[in-house]
Symmetry: D2
């Protein structure tokens, strides 16, 4: 477990002196920068950074750091694009599932073994298949059925459960239900999906069947932020695995699972560590 | 779930007509070959094959198939190197663990979700850290401590538990204890280890520390059969993941886990499906 | 250089006894099978195989082998789907290029170093940028400009040059001109393209720009047979490479080249070794 | 071609305020930082950075920048560990080869197509196999035979040729001769080797034969700085490719070539762009 850190992230129009401004601000306060990353996008003229500062190297706390940094951000025209987070505050997540358990098993195993440091407040399933394993991990499971004729009511119930926990991440771990636009809005920047294809190939339903039909030689998985545009949100992480003519659709499904769960876990970790900055429909991953 | 199949595997000295002999034997009995693979090793002049036959395409059962095939094997000088297995008989496994849970969590998740079709008869741990999750899956957990002064007794107890289940696979899922030669002998061809390096690099203790010191740009994992020669048994499967200068030893440990668990699961699956034939210190994986 | 071999390939409706029929045919003639691969497609009920036989193990030559095998093929309803090739006859290729040289440099280097055993009869370019390097390798270069108003005439000239060499492969090594349907027909099963994306993502023009806009985390290349349907022909091979937010379009272009040239070289090798069987819009690669 | 840039690199003991010091120095001079990377090594307490500054954003030239930066470096105790380079000065390389041409073909192709911006001053071969292709690219080829009884004289001749060009990189593109210690010293930090294995596995002679014997499932290549300790210098880049039981040693050699040439080209590019900082026996690659 690393020691407690403050994480500063922001984006602003690029110009001379930004790094100097931020670094001097931290140095003047005695802050020890443990990790620093910068990215300047020449196409859009936009600048991004992420800084990790040892909390105990500063003579003041989070609130004061935020108050002081607000002035820096304002001077860089980053008013609405900055965050200062405290790694000592454990992030919260709610996980949404359906019947396929491989991503949930994987996430719960990572949390139980201390590898992924997140407080899973609840798992919500439109089937109850995964209730037992969830509860074996000491986590509440909510069964919210999604009958075709009353999906709106079901989504209302899910929103309410999620809202009660104010999570940093809503993880769609093979949830298989399309979020309505107002839910996408409500969870914007926090809803993370794992799609079982190498997007933009094979968006929508049954991607492994599509991949089989097309005869591709690699299959993939994509971890992305959910937006109202189906399977088209900013991509956080992707990975692929090799397949061949001997693989049936069932083989693709099985092999794909290993890529899905690892890709989702990486994307979620980066999101929780505030490593992912969204820029239009692209991401900067520090 | 695929339909029931008989799996024929053997190795014999290479010569003209082996494929014809085997294929004609199957065809004459009306057998439908679903999958067939061959390998001729030009260096050693040895031939290997694996055939999957639809069980219901044959007019007789497993015992009769074995009796008839024994003649074919004898005619090919494969007397002691052939097996005929029935996919309808569920294979059994015993898993050995220590404190690190990622491989065990992963295997249990695969079994629970029906992805890996194996009867996990018992989990044995030299610590009891993983007892609860094992029992949550309805599997007996045996805690066998390994105090330095009485390891021989501990191994005797483990051997007894294993022997009681006559498993097709003894899985060392980060067990961290070196098997004495007589245990290696007893479990020969059935004991599968996951080593947390890309062997032969970094055999022995603390491979991630070794990898960090050497400054490698990829780390790996190796699934292999256990032999009396430490970390030197026949390799079943290997995989790697990219790392860079920013990764601490702790990062290597974390990233490596994802490779370890996937590599072990693949190797175990292939072993259970009788896809792995050992040839000296190398494997043929069909 | 391996010794001379006959390569038998065919596809036919699946049924009991095909392997026995083919293997017995070879064994009865005294043939030594060096490499044998089979694939049964359960969806379409179709069977495929490729066999490599040592030429000097047979008491007769290519013509006689073909004559005899025709009967086997007929008995298996494979009349129009079989080939018997002689590895001793060096395959011929014509390469089509534009201005981008990385794939051509790579192919010429492989041929010059003896790695890729093919007789490159001619290189045709719609620009003359790559004339010198081609001629330095002792290969004729034909400059056929493609002015927008007379592409039909240009294609007629290209077809004529190609036809004069009757090549086993027409390699579109970043040719950048869309083949008209009648040319696709004429070169069917022989025209191999390298597309600079992981198809079906980013078909058509400027795939790296498309990939950049979408913010993907891996870019790829696809080697496929050319059909009248742009970038939609049967895929032979694909590969990918990791990119990140720091990569500009120019970086994607540069990194992509390494994948393009390796993927094209692999696909071309497999095609020339008769390892690729087309099945609808998919390929079996033995 | 990117515009002209100054590249500052250095390493120094880590402490508070380094980034602020460097960034303020650049900002105070009006410098526009295009790319900035930092790394703090917690184990050794050492700090590294690389900065790219637009040359035309500074009101002075390279000499003045160096003079001014010397003071910054001194204040950070980085006296002997800093460099300020001008991307407008084309780096020089000398390439050493033996008979195997794949790495040389690849490098020459990259240079000819403008992908790799380096002035290849000479190619030296202990055989003359690759003389023609080198000269076809307009580059002088020196044939320096290495008879067993007079290797010292041969190395003396090679050193002289190399010294005449004062290259930024001496590329051992499968040179196959072990450099004597005094040559390692003379070329320290500039001699780049490609070893045809995933080091530290299979150091020394015939790594593909070693890999075949061990039965590994992936083979690799390692680009590293040459030191007097054979195949043990700081690693710049590594990559691997999958192999299986069907691959002979000749197949490993062929498949390995694609990894060797790509890995060498990446490592060389990074070296020439001053992205590689050596830290003990490890590298920081920005």
């Amino acid at each position: 477990m690393p020691d407690r850190r403050y994480v500063i992230t922001f984006g602003c129009p690029d110009r001379t002196g930004i790094i100097a401004r931020v670094a001097s601000f931290v140095a003047d306060a005695g802050g020890w920068i443990v990790e620093a990353a910068y990215h300047a996008d020449p196409d859009t003229g936009w600048f991004f950074t992420r800084q990790e500062i040892k909390a105990d190297s500063l003579p003041f706390g989070l609130a004061e750091l935020r108050a002081r940094f607000a002035e820096v951000a304002a001077s860089l025209s980053a008013e609405s694009n900055w965050l200062v987070q405290d790694s000592g505050i454990r992030p919260r997540a709610v996980i949404l599932v359906s019947r396929e358990g491989h991503c949930l098993y994987d996430l719960l195993g990572r949390v139980a073994s201390g590898e992924l440091d997140v407080d899973v407040r609840a798992v919500i399933g439109n089937h109850d298949t995964l209730a037992d394993i969830t509860r074996a991990h000491g986590i509440p499971f909510h069964h919210v059925p999604f009958p075709p004729e009353s999906k709106a009511e079901a989504f209302a119930e899910v929103r309410e459960i999620v809202a009660a926990h104010d999570p940093d991440a809503v993880v769609l771990a093979r949830f298989m239900q399309i979020l309505p636009p107002e839910v996408c809005d409500e969870w914007a920047g926090r809803a993370i999906n794992i799609h079982h294809s190498f997007l933009p190939s094979f968006a929508g339903a049954r991607p492994y069947h599509q991949a089989y039909q097309r005869g591709v030689k690699l299959i993939g998985a994509t971890c992305h932020y959910v937006t109202a545009d189906l399977d088209a949100g900013p991509i956080i992480e992707q990975d692929v695995i090799r397949v061949d003519h001997g693989d049936s659709v069932a083989d693709l499904v099985r092999k794909g699972r290993d890529i899905e769960k690892v890709t989702l876990a990486r994307g979620l970790r980066w999101h929780l560590e505030r490593r992912v900055l969204v820029h239009g429909n692209r991401t900067v991953v520090f």
